[in-house]
């Protein structure tokens, strides 16, 4: 029955719920159960590493981190029933955080050896840990970075160190339970408050009423406004002590899905804190940046804002955002900068003589930018009569040069391969663009295909989008007629074999500047991007982003329809790894590259990187089979 009870519990807890019952039953035999009274420090930062994965049966723990030097302690996470801790120290050989029981806590302890067996032998466990725990791990790593950071400004730290009493609105409308709804609204209006606290006979908060409650509960439901406020208030009201750290309060608000919290001092009302207060405190959300960009009217003003926008990566990493979402947000912010520069160019050079469309190419086109890369762009303008041509071409030439210089000023370096609209080859009327694509598709050579790949991931960023759609339609029609083109893509894809050795080891650079390094972009990111592109073009799919392409392929009859989840996950993982690597380099003031040290990865990271490589190999084998007549 000990066993049954535990099996029952674990069968509801990820990742153990993915295990079959016989295995679970066997696993439970090796568990022990420990009790940590409230206040016990279970693991000490820099102390002995955990010998177990601890699965919380009851209670909760708080995970904190003390940055190197003399920084303030930072709350990294809370874990409660059904969640685990000790994972990172189990794998990483270092206890980087302090884990404190904040309630009486009972845990099941899974011994290290047993855990390692499970990770290696059981794909479901590995997958779960990768998907969920790596985000937390990633989160923690970036917090660690944050502790030493000069890159992020002090306001970021505030969320973790400031007490809620320091930021709450000191004054708030306070009414008694029998006050009428009308009277409450009047008081709020007079006192310019967005919320009113309803208190009981002893002044204790019993409910809260916000602006939006008036809309949804009073007006929408047709409540008589002379009724008591207690009828429409939210209750019970969540209150926090003024000394609670802001981060814990935000967490509470998220958990309870509320926007207002009462702040008390020794049980007495002190004020109210809203999610708006936290936004103001943090002030560095992607939204704040985008507004900042919008407000600029000169290149001189835009440049510093644009350069600073990179720091948002740290904020996003710390908030545990998915890597594939981070790259989208980065691309979105970059897009805004580019649009702003376009706006400035149009103002500088006068309105364009004919409609044009600005294209983002390559990773920018796919919205997969990590740290600011170089410029990859092109320009299409509407077809014109020969007589107008010199004048129009001259306008766009100057326009494109302005763009290149403006973007350089904003931190986007010029493209060394000159894939930029400022190169006259890539600043052409629609008819010429159609000819380019016709040539690439109907007369492919390995070199030409390689060079043109970047153009197949174009995305209209600004201007007359119909020009871009016209072009896309044009080459979409051509592709089915020229199978050799896809054959070349397939050929190129299968030639970039993952660096997996005979014994499943990963081959790294043997010498040179990046000795022991692994080029993550070429060996892991590019093959996944190439796979998505090949199959998307094969099926005439319009999407450009890798994840969008994969999603579009999911429901179809593509060769890879069944592998979409695995491909998406691998893409997420390698992207995360890459962002982390680059973030660390940026933090350390080093030049940014794509070479990660394989021996610097944790065993779990290595395992998942190998899984990604195996997946790439598997798809390559299928591609080889399908396109065998084209494989050289």
């Amino acid at each position: 029955m000990l066993i049954d009870e535990t099996v029952r519990f674990l069968s509801q807890v990820p990742p153990f719920q993915f295990l079959e019952e016989p295995l679970l039953r066997e696993l439970v035999q090796s568990l022990t159960m420990a009790f940590h009274p409230k206040g016990e420090v279970i693991l000490h930062q820099d102390g002995p590493v955990s010998e177990h994965l601890q699965i919380i049966k009851k209670g909760a723990v708080k995970i904190t981190l003390r940055p190197e030097g003399n920084g303030d302690e930072v709350v990294v996470d809370y874990r409660e029933r059904g969640e685990t801790f000790g994972l990172v120290s189990l794998m990483g050989g270092q206890q980087r955080t302090t884990i404190l029981a904040i309630q009486d806590t009972t845990c099941y302890l899974l011994p290290k050896e047993r855990f390692n067996e499970l990770v290696l032998s059981h794909p479901a466990i590995t997958e779960y840990l990768l998907q969920f725990h790596l985000t937390k791990y990633a989160d923690m790593t970036s917090r660690e970075i944050q502790g030493k950071s000069l890159f992020l400004e002090s306001s970021d730290h505030l969320l973790f160190t400031a007490q809620v009493g320091e930021i709450c609105q000191r004054f708030t409308t306070v009414v008694e339970a029998d006050t009428s709804i009308r009277q409450t609204a009047r008081r709020m209006a007079e006192e310019r408050q967005s919320a009113a606290l309803v208190v009981g006979p002893n002044g204790e908060p019993i409910g809260i009423l916000t602006d939006s409650d008036f809309r949804t509960r009073v007006v929408a439901e047709g409540q008589p406004i002379d009724g008591p406020v207690s009828r429409v208030m939210s209750h019970p009201v969540v209150s926090v002590d003024e000394q609670d750290p802001c981060f814990e309060v935000v967490l509470k608000m998220l958990q309870c899905d509320i926007e207002h919290v009462a702040v008390t001092r020794g049980g007495a009302i002190r004020g109210v804190v809203t999610n708006h207060d936290f936004l103001v405190l943090q002030g560095r959300s992607p939204l704040a940046f985008s507004e900042d960009i919008e407000h600029q009217t000169t290149l001189e003003g835009l440049a510093p804002v644009s350069r600073k926008a990179m720091s948002i990566i740290g904020v996003l990493l710390r908030e545990g955002a998915r890597a594939t979402n981070i790259i989208r947000i980065i691309s979105e912010l970059n897009d805004r900068v580019v649009r702003k520069v376009l706006e400035l160019a149009e103002r500088e050079l006068g309105p364009p003589p004919v409609p044009y469309c600005w294209l983002a190419l390559g990773s920018e086109g796919r919205k997969e930018q990590t740290f600011r890369t170089d410029q990859d762009n092109a320009l299409i303008y509407a077809d014109v009569f020969d007589s107008q041509k010199p004048r129009v071409a001259e306008y766009f030439r100057r326009f494109a040069v302005f763009m290149r210089n403006g973007l350089v000023q904003c931190g986007f370096e010029a493209c060394p391969a000159n894939y930029m609209a400022s190169n006259p080859d890539w600043c052409q009327p629609l008819a010429q663009w159609k000819r380019y694509f016709s040539t690439w598709i109907s007369e492919p050579t390995p070199e030409a295909v390689l060079k043109s790949l970047i153009f197949f991931d174009f995305r209209p960023l600004h201007g007359d989008r119909s020009l871009a759609w016209g072009l896309r339609e044009h080459f979409g029609r051509l592709i089915p007629d020229y199978p050799t083109f896809l054959g070349f893509l397939a050929n190129m894809l299968v030639r970039n074999r993952p660096p997996l050795g005979f014994f499943g080891g990963v081959a790294v650079e043997r010498n040179g500047e990046h000795k022991d390094g692994l080029n993550l972009k070429i060996k892991a990111v590019a093959p996944l991007v190439d796979i998505a592109r090949l199959f998307a073009l094969e099926k005439g799919i319009q999407q450009v982003s890798t994840v969008d392409r994969l999603e579009a392929l999911r429901s179809g009859t593509s060769l890879i329809s069944d592998l979409v989840d695995e491909l998406e996950y691998s893409f997420e993982f390698v992207t995360l790894l890459r962002i982390h690597h680059q973030y660390r380099q940026a933090e350390a003031g080093q030049p940014i590259d794509n070479f990660i040290r394989y021996d610097g990865l944790s065993s779990l990271e290595r395992q998942s990187l190998k899984n990604a490589f195996r997946l790439i190999l598997k798809v390559q084998d299928q591609v080889m089979d399908r396109y065998k007549s084209f494989i050289i």
Binding site: L31, T32, M33
Partner: protein
């Protein structure tokens, strides 16, 4: 019992001068189900036990045996245990079960709630089947509770007014879930969790090793008060 096991039993953790700290102690937390409280007439019908290493309860390797009784089962206790005579008929006799239990408990400190009573029956049956009595160190959770309460340890559960609270009173006070009450192994599991909660409180009070545990958790302490309890229904 093999020689090895006997050796461990004799030396296990309680030889003079070998006072080990709690994390290094190995415990056998046990509970017996009886047909009644009269040692002259009644029988052990089940033994349930599990091991703890320091404060950690091991979920695997539990001991769980039903015993074929010598006396006829009385309808009154059947209601409590849910064990019927026919279930016990096919089970091994107490001598055989004791042999394997002695083996299981060898080298460990015995822990139980009102352990004196369990020990009285176990030792009686050991004697009857020609075996040596249990020589293990023994700690009683009810004695521990009484001691902690006298020290007025700061925990709401010690506000319990009952003079000799049952295992289930204590489980409730310490928020320990009770899943299978009155099965020997189920009760042993509850006892183990109770003991687990006492350990940090004892440590705060300076009791952190075997000698301390034996002093404040001596099973004989509770025996006298227990005898006075008319109609005590833990058993």
């Amino acid at each position: 019992m093999g020689l090895m096991a006997w050796g461990r039993g004799k030396l296990g953790g309680w030889s003079p001068g070998g006072d080990l700290p709690v994390p290094e102690l190995r415990f056998t937390v046990l509970d017996t189900e009886l047909t009644g409280l009269d040692a002259r007439r009644d029988d052990i019908i089940a033994i349930g036990a599990l091991h703890m290493q320091g404060g950690r309860i091991e979920l695997g390797n539990a001991f769980q045996e039903l015993v074929k009784p010598t006396a006829v089962l009385d309808g009154r206790t059947v209601v409590i245990h849910g064990i019927t005579p026919s279930e016990l008929e096919a089970r091994p006799a107490i001598g055989e079960v004791l042999a394997s239990f002695l083996d299981y408990a060898a080298g460990t400190v015995l822990v139980g709630h009102c352990l004196a009573l369990d020990l009285a029956f176990l030792n009686r049956d050991a004697k009857r089947s020609g075996r040596a009595p249990f020589r293990n160190a023994a700690v009683d959770t009810l004695s521990l509770f009484g001691w902690l309460r006298r020290r007025s340890v700061d925990h709401p559960a010690f506000a319990l007014e009952l003079p000799a609270p049952s295992l289930f009173d204590l489980a409730e006070a310490f928020e320990i879930p009770v899943e299978a009450a009155h099965s020997a192994i189920g009760d042993a599991y509850v006892t183990a969790q109770l003991f687990q909660r006492f350990l940090p409180l004892l440590q705060q009070a300076g009791v952190a090793s075997l000698s301390g545990l034996r002093r404040v958790g001596d099973p004989r302490r509770q025996l006298a008060s227990l005898a006075d309890q008319e109609g005590h229904t833990h058993f």
